[in-house]
């Protein structure tokens, strides 16, 4: 059999056989589901947020965003926290911890006041939680004393985190909402309250589609709809941005982060790791494709590590952070003029349309041959390269220094594989 590499990592002092966890959501809300996901190779879970009482949910509660023929670009849900009361959940957690001692049982909790937070922290710790994740971030709670309304108020975040810390001896992670411009602020409050780590992101407030039939949003709940959480592939860019901002803040740089948001492939996973995440959580791609997605996440990550000679995840966690810099610090001395490869070009002219209507009118179509030719008006924006339907037909060409700038070495991207 072929080589295997070690994907394990110690996160907050808890040994995880791999960094892939289910994030708190319906993908992990009962014994059978979590047993199946463990059997298929997930490293751990953050158990569906436990509250004092079970929730009263609406129906239907999901919608998705399509782009041309691709569905599930993004996913919207109107679900709250666990449908079970805390006692039932404690029972399930106890059994899972007993039957799967090497897997990591994170448990997400949410209270409405200090007493509730304290009780949940105590009881879930007693049930066997290896870590507690504090849900300060569900954007569609029916109570405004809970969820993202709390997460947007640093004082409450600090207060509740402290209460939890006082009632548990396991690591505590604060799960933050992206429905805020600076996640660093409540994150620092959580750390001040004693949080050991941050989880980011929960879902983004959204209205995905309007239903023209009933003149309301989707999904339609008895003729009405609500603003609620958006997740899946479409939110990855936003999740990565929050992650980078947390890791680049000097006060938070050393606070471990569990990365969440749109992870579907091993490449997504590597991107989160390169920006400093030490643990990874997934919901939407599991809802769409099943627990089996972890197989290619693990396999692809392992091959990536083998090929780069990495023996531990820590060899590359955070490696991309020094290369994410403020806009004002970018080298603006040059333009990379693209090259159109005549042998691959199929003469569709999409590059010329986009360059004209969205760029700099720098592509001329040769009469008769339909061949696109790049002229001196080109500014090197690479809109054409992004729009071209043929992989490799337009690639970065030559580097042109702006008048008066001193030529120097420039690092460029050569291979495009999407």
């Amino acid at each position: 059999m072929s080589k295997k590499v070690d994907l394990s990592i110690d996160f907050l002092g808890v040994h995880c056989e791999n960094p892939f966890f289910l994030s708190s959501s319906p993908v992990c809300h009962n014994y059978e589901m979590i047993a199946k996901c463990f059997d298929l190779g997930w490293g751990g879970v953050f158990y569906k947020t436990v509250g004092i009482n079970g929730m009263n949910e609406c129906s239907p509660r999901f919608d998705n965003v399509r782009k041309e023929d691709i569905g599930w670009v993004g996913f919207k849900n109107m679900e709250q926290i666990s449908e079970h009361c805390w006692q039932e959940n404690a029972e399930i957690i106890k059994r899972l911890k007993h039957d799967y001692p090497t897997k990591v049982m994170g448990v997400s909790i949410m209270g409405a006041n200090e007493e509730e937070w304290a009780l949940l922290a105590r009881e879930m710790t007693k049930a066997g939680a290896d870590m507690l994740e504090l849900n300060f971030s569900c954007p569609q709670m029916t109570s405004h004393a809970m969820g993202s309304d709390v997460g947007q108020t640093p004082e409450l975040v600090e207060k509740y985190t402290r209460v939890v810390k006082e009632n548990t001896n396991v690591p505590v992670i604060a799960k933050m909402t992206p429905n805020i411009s600076h996640m660093e602020v409540p994150s620092k409050a959580a750390v001040k309250g004693g949080a050991d780590a941050i989880s980011s992101i929960n879902t983004i407030k959204s209205i995905c589609n309007l239903d023209l039939e009933n003149v309301t949003g989707m999904p339609v709940v008895n003729g009405k709809s609500s603003i609620s959480g958006y997740s899946g592939a479409a939110v990855k860019p936003i999740a990565l941005r929050f992650l980078a901002q947390l890791k680049m803040d000097k006060d938070l740089a050393n606070v471990p982060v569990s990365g969440i948001g749109g992870i579907e492939t091993w490449q997504d996973a590597v991107e989160f790791l390169l920006l400093g995440a030490e643990n990874l959580q997934v919901t939407t791609s599991v809802m769409q494709y099943g627990y089996r997605v972890v197989e290619d996440m693990k396999d692809g990550l392992e091959i990536f590590m083998l090929e780069h000679g990495f023996t531990s995840l820590r060899d590359f966690i955070g490696k991309a952070l020094p290369n994410i810099i403020p806009c004002e610090d970018l080298d603006r001395d040059f333009q990379i003029i693209p090259e159109i490869h005549d042998d691959l070009c199929v003469r569709c002219g999409r590059c010329a349309i986009s360059c004209y209507d969205g760029g700099h009118q720098a592509i001329e179509i040769e009469k008769g041959t339909r061949k696109p030719l790049i002229t001196d008006k080109c500014v090197g924006c690479h809109l054409c390269l992004n729009v071209c339907p043929v992989l490799g037909a337009i690639t970065p060409g030559f580097i042109k220094f702006k008048p008066g700038r001193t030529p120097h070495d420039v690092v460029i991207k050569h291979t495009y594989d999407r």
Binding site: K3, I70, E264, Y289, D296, M297, L306, E307, L391
Partner: protein, 404 residues
């Protein structure tokens, strides 16, 4: 564009997919539960699993899955009759058309070439040694599976290059040397030794039996069948399929003036002869067989391909005689039903009416430390993917026999 496809001998009939095109095709896959396509791959290549790997951009992982399951994964991608195997079972048929599993498999295997580590590793040496006669697909599969278990394996073949029918039968436009070499490298990387230009006679077999812990006979069907009592069969210009294809392969298509070619036979082998004759510059190529369009054994993919190349097909006619003095000048055919008959001018006539095990091995039976598989164990030749299946099973049986 001309209606007839011009394809020089050896030039590939189909282009590979790049990442974007592979993703488009993989996105069509429904990612079925308990994938039906996987159930219908004889060798257990598990297309449902490797397509999912492609879909989740785990391209090299896809290559690894294929290689672990099917040592001839790159070859099978090109020449499996997918339309009656994996693709026939594809759930997507219920929507429009099946996933192009062969192309996706070929794409994944093309990614293997960039892999910076060896996918398969030999097992810990167990001290046993096995000889395989013939370097065709079945022996290659037996050898790879045993090497993974730590057996020291030596393959012996009479030809100059390894591959059996892959190398000397199937045409290079359908299966390039590069692809065969990629698969054979995976076998030799496991430490399997291949001894070439070594014909193993009955006597040699006895010696091998004495020297090795087990011997596998994977000699395939290397003799040509002929229609009994065919008048004119020994005229100059009359040939059978295997020697004709081998000659073309060795001479890289430069086998002189074939003139008008008539091929007798309706199977894939006949189709390979037809495309080869066409690509070697024959003036005209006609294929005739006794079966009807419906019952002819050749796969639809092969028939479409030769028709594209400008080959004429005449179903439901049987050959009566080959006409000529010293050299063939025509073939006389009669309709299977009714009284029609025709005489076709011919400078070359190729009989592709089946292959059989060579005389040396035709009665050989598995016995004790002697194992027989692949086409050599069959009355009628099968496919490469079934030879791999047979090889995997026999490797298990040998391992059991050797108690490893």
């Amino acid at each position: 564009m001309t209606k007839v496809r011009q394809l020089p001998y050896g030039e590939l009939a189909e282009n590979g997919l790049n990442i974007r095109l592979a993703m488009e095709e993989a996105t069509r896959c429904l990612l079925c539960d308990d994938a039906p396509c996987s159930h219908d791959c004889p060798a257990g290549t598990d297309p449902g699993r490797f397509i999912r790997a492609i879909r989740f951009r785990n391209f090299k992982g896809a290559a690894r899955i294929i290689r672990e399951n099917n040592i001839l994964g790159a070859t099978c991608a090109e020449i499996c009759p997918q339309e009656r195997l994996c693709e026939k079972a594809c759930s997507r048929c219920g929507i429009d058309k099946p996933i192009n599993i062969g192309r996706l498999q070929a794409f994944a295997m093309s990614m293997e070439k960039d892999m910076k580590f060896q996918v398969l590793e030999a097992g810990k040496p167990c001290g046993k040694k096995v000889a395989c006669i013939g370097a065709g697909p079945s022996s290659l599969a037996v050898a790879a599976e045993l090497a993974k278990k730590g057996v020291s394996v030596t393959i012996l073949d009479e030809n100059e290059k390894a591959g059996g029918v892959l190398r000397y039968g199937i045409t290079p436009s359908r299966l390039s040397d590069d692809v065969i070499d990629q698969d054979i490298k995976a076998v030799t990387d496991l430490g399997v030794k291949i001894v070439l230009n070594k014909h193993v006679s009955k006597d040699d077999l006895c010696a091998l039996m004495a020297e090795y812990d087990a011997v596998y006979v994977g000699v395939g069907q290397s003799a040509s069948k002929m229609i009994p009592n065919m008048k004119g069969a020994d005229l100059k210009g009359v040939d059978t399929a295997l020697p004709f294809l081998k000659k073309a392969r060795i001479a890289n298509g430069k086998i002189g003036d074939l003139g008008n070619v008539v091929i007798i036979g309706g199977g894939d082998v006949a189709m390979d002869c037809a495309s080869t004759a066409r690509q070697c510059g024959a003036k005209s190529v006609t294929v005739s067989f006794v079966e009807t369009w419906e019952t002819m054994p050749a796969s639809k993919k092969e028939v479409d391909y030769v028709v594209d190349l400008g080959v004429t097909i005449i179903p439901a006619f049987k050959p009566l005689e080959v006409i000529g003095d010293d050299k063939v000048s025509a073939v006389k055919l009669a309709a299977m039903e009714g009284n029609s008959s025709m005489t076709l001018d011919a400078d070359t006539v190729i009989f592709a009416v089946g292959q059989k095990v060579s005389d040396d091995y035709k009665d050989i039976k598995a016995d004790g430390k002697l194992f027989v598989g692949g086409d050599a164990a069959l009355v009628r030749g099968a496919t490469v993917v079934e030879a791999v299946k047979s090889g995997k099973e026999i490797a298990e049986a040998i391992a059991k026999f050797l108690q490893i």
